[in-house]
Subunit: 268 residues, 3 copies
């Protein structure tokens, strides 16, 4: 089995994604290619960085994850190949791997420089086809990652300055909306363990959430634990606090934007 | 061969679909996973109910069809597994299977309760990943459906109150628009057999269609049987009457909405 | 290995694409089906004609490419099967194959008339399912193309009148925007060899580009070779001149439309 996943900002209106798949299958006819999404807003590295952590662990070990969100294509930015937890990642060295590199024990990172593996001539505008696809296909066939290029230290990979949740001087947990999904659920950067640290032995039902001028009381366990068209706070499927609207769209209800603050406190 | 199809309201901008596929492939590496659509409007059970009947018969027997349009995720709604015509279906017990259950002879329906097959811990917000995916993967590997949980009677599954076409006291056949496709074709709930019942021995060319204040004469056999930019009535590929515009978009032309009435009569 | 690619105007909101795949897999369970795009604007033959040339060569020989952009479905337009460069194409005889037929040496073209291979009854509104899918599946299984129907001459296939770049009486190379991709890059019909013919021994850096009232100096080698939010001219990954905006959207910046002229000259 060899699985290759694709996370890009290519959209689905052009032939870019199909072309990448053609190259992968030309090299590894056995590859199963799975689309994660191609709808990352053009060049939105932060969104891509957060999304990577959510899906990859649900694939079998050995999967090759290609991350092609690459505003610097054709410049001298490096391309990295990473091995961690039995999974392989290919991505530009532009910070898009920040959450992955921060969360996991990395086995190996190499800079992809072995041009013999590339598709020639290498265009300077479409490395997805000419570099990512052939190298990803080789990884999916089991090539040793160290053949791709020289090892580097994880610390030397570029990081985005992602805002982390913190405790205010009043003891509130302060986070931010980092994503909005198709349902309008507003996903924050606060994970369940941070909520537990805030609660200690108190019940989750004593939590209060302030967001966009609204106050929500108690942490729900599922989307139906508020009245219809009422907002609720819940830990979503990927382990992060999100604000939802039962039967509706919380982003529209709250008029929420990426980056908006959320404050969590224990009801006094 | 083991095919798994996906019909969801997940959209394609997030990692939800990819994550479901990762779980399926982790359990059944041989599965071929086919997207039907992920663009069902959030929680639009009626649209999903109609669409299921259109595609499933075109897949080989043994295919597992996962229907994940599930506003009640995490509540106590059941999840059903259905075997009919050699196909398997997994769906919430929320009425989304209404047309399927009404049209076909059902072999078996079970309530999916065998938690040993689930992904643990089971989140209360993402059963697509934690219940549907692992159970669907097991079905695609050939597990006996009765291992999933207790059998129930088809009558005990929840039904939507879908409006059916009827004859008015003036002898008109009255139906409604139940879907609009990408081309703007307005698809009704009137099937070809209902038109035949109306016509008896008369020609389809004597039919008249009233919709959104417009009158269309005669049933066309294909989209080009009206003048360019003129409306026409035709039986679409899935066997239902639809109103189209030759070379254009009938929904926009008619300013039509889901639920709008269509009246069909024999020209006097 | 048997790969089938799909280029359609079906969109992704309906079950049309999934149904086509079901039919293909019913006939050839081994087929790998790859989506190129389903977002061709309804019935936009010109866009489809240009896009075909960009992706197909990146697939392995033997791939079957189905092109279902077919406003004349159900009329008496023919369906063509083409073999060229080891690849197979199925498309309506409506001009959508124009660039393919003009660029390549065609081995064989046949008119698809062998109704024994079709799905019966053949609807007059969904040949994608009833003709393209079963015939494409047979091609992917290795059926001899000449079994599909009678050979025709390439000259007898319908051609679109695609505008070609030309030299003005002032010696400028005059082309047009023929596509806009997801990033807002404006793709022209001028290929690299035309630029070389214009430059002769001059440097690409002496080229000047006039488009939508803006003048761009020099041909860049990658998207980062302009200041941020400044326009640039570059040969894109598929070999055609395109106008991009570094870090932004050139279409919006230029207020550009498909069909807008671009004039290229040597700086005097």
């Amino acid at each position: 089995m060899s699985i290759v996943t694709l996370l890009t900002d290519f959209g689905i209106q052009d032939a870019y994604v199909g072309t990448v798949k053609g190259v992968v299958l030309s090299i590894n006819p056995e590859a199963k290619i799975i689309d994660i999404t191609h709808q990352i807003e053009p060049q939105n590295l932060v969104r891509a960085a957060y999304i990577i952590s959510s899906y990859y662990k649900y694939f079998p070990a050995g999967t090759v994850h290609m991350i092609i969100v690459d505003p610097g294509v054709g410049s001298d930015r490096a391309i990295l190949a990473v091995k961690t937890m039995g999974h392989f990642f290919l991505a530009p060295d532009n910070g898009v791997l920040t959450t992955l590199l921060d969360e996991d024990d990395i086995d190996v990172i190499v800079r992809v420089e072995n041009t013999r593996l590339f598709l020639h001539p290498v265009s300077r505008t479409f490395h997805g086809r000419d570099v990512f696809a052939p190298v990803g296909a080789q990884l999916s066939k089991g090539i040793d990652i160290e053949i791709l290029g020289p090892k580097i230290n994880s610390k030397d990979a570029l990081r985005l300055q992602l805002e982390k949740p913190h405790f205010s001087k009043h003891g509130e947990l302060v986070g931010a909306i980092v994503g909005v999904d198709r349902f309008g659920n507003c996903i924050t950067n606060i994970d369940e363990s941070a909520l537990e640290a805030l609660c200690r032995k108190d019940s989750f039902m004593r939590l209060e959430f302030d967001i966009c001028g609204k106050r929500i009381k108690g942490l729900s366990r599922s989307y139906d634990q508020a009245k219809p068209q009422h907002p609720l706070a819940v830990v979503g499927g990927f382990g992060y606090l999100e604000i939802a609207l039962n039967g509706g769209n919380a982003k529209n209800y709250l008029n929420a934007q990426i980056g908006d603050r959320i404050r969590v406190a224990i009801k006094s």
